[in-house]
Amino acid sequence: HRRLPAVIPTPPVSASPFPNPKSQYCCLSRNFSAALTPLLPVQLPSRMETHLWYVVPDEVKSAPLLSKYMELLPQSERDHVLGFRGDQLQKSALLARTLVRTTIARYQVDGHLDPRSLRFKRNIHGKPEVEWETKDGFCPPPLQFNISHTSSLVACGVTMNSLIGIDVEEKRRRTKNNILAFAKRYFTAHEVEHLNAIPDSELQQQEFIKLWTLKEAYVKALGKGFSSSPFNTFTIRVNTAAQQASSGIAVETLDSPQNLTNNWQFALLELMGSHYVAICLERQETGGAGKAFPIKLTARKTIPSVEDELVSGTNAVVTIGGSVTQF
């Protein structure tokens, strides 16, 4: 674990694309009774990059810190958080709102850095977006984001330009219903066949969860709501060629079965050995012969306003599907 002692002051993160693996905010002491330490800026993702930020709720234990997070939220979001039943649910809901606000603020899009001042809206289909202030001459950046959370993980994906959808799930998540019965009811025939062909029930369960997260990520990337793309109207095809290190993933919609829909590319990650993270991105450019460039991914584990840890390229983030280069 690359962790530095909290009391040693470190210089702020530079604009270099390869910052120190660990940047510490809190120089002198973990004194959370004061206001939250100002956020450290980060560089916007380039056009071809995807940033993945995540928080592990179990690692955020300080009640005063959580109170400070609540103070970042407008009343409506606080109400929303408090409307969840129980500690764990409230905490992950709070961390989700905190993560998205602090992360977007750190990109310093409009020159200043206040997570409180961000406003969010929903597009006509209900997908959350930032509502940028329309000041004179200010052109909102094409910043795209998507959040997903379970009680044990909160994640946010950010791109410039590319529509993005992400979904996270615990690897060992079990369905109450029989997997094949569920898949027959809600997935496509090809996907049912794919699952049916897996003899080991544990592996079948994991493959189901992978498919589920990929399908969710696709619908969330589309941003048109789940009813516009019912799960049985598109197939996620996972190609597991023995010679490839990781499989290719593609989506095929039932209304155009002849053409694999090339507009979307996928990444499937295993995070901390415990979670699957599916990312779906709108394809920006293709290489020769319609091949896509790999997804350039930077992954950071964070506790907002406390610490970041660059984890791409480590054991914490393992690519298990799609073409991904980790930075």
Partner: protein, 135 residues
């Protein structure tokens, strides 16, 4: 450093640091809504052509509650009523689909994806079931 453990009741520091009147359901150990024996909303029967929605039978609501509790692994005495929102109880999208699947089996109905997505509370699920069962 104070730590929040599973056994602690809600996050008192959150709700006390903001307006007290915003305090909501505060934890697994708290008793919020008493489970009512009978629905307080009188059932209105639909007249043909009217779009007024009738409240579902209590029996239907109870069955939905049972399915929801089972899916979300809630204790039998958890306070779940018609107004309870699936998401607030901890249902994510996979849970919601599983709940709908459970309702389909229990009531022998088929729920279209569009309808499934619009159900957010126990009452809405019960109302939808009754509409489908009437057909």
């Amino acid at each position: 450093m104070a730590s929040i453990t599973r056994a602690s009741v809600s996050m008192p520091s959150l709700s006390t640091s903001v307006n007290q009147s915003q305090r909501r359901i505060s934890g697994l150990n708290s008793v919020s809504f008493p489970v009512s024996g009978r629905s307080m909303i009188p059932s209105l029967r639909l007249q043909r052509g009217l779009q007024v929605c009738c409240a579902a039978k209590q029996e239907t609501v109870d069955k939905v509650v049972a399915i929801v509790k089972k899916q979300l692994a809630l204790p039998a005495d958890a306070a779940v009523t018609g107004e309870s929102k699936f998401a607030a109880l901890g249902a994510d999208s996979l849970d919601t689909v599983e709940i709908v699947m459970g309702l389909e089996e229990e009531f022998d109905i088929t729920v279209e994806e569009e309808s499934a997505q619009s159900i957010t509370t126990v009452q809405e699920a019960a109302d939808m079931i009754e509409k489908l069962v009437e057909k």
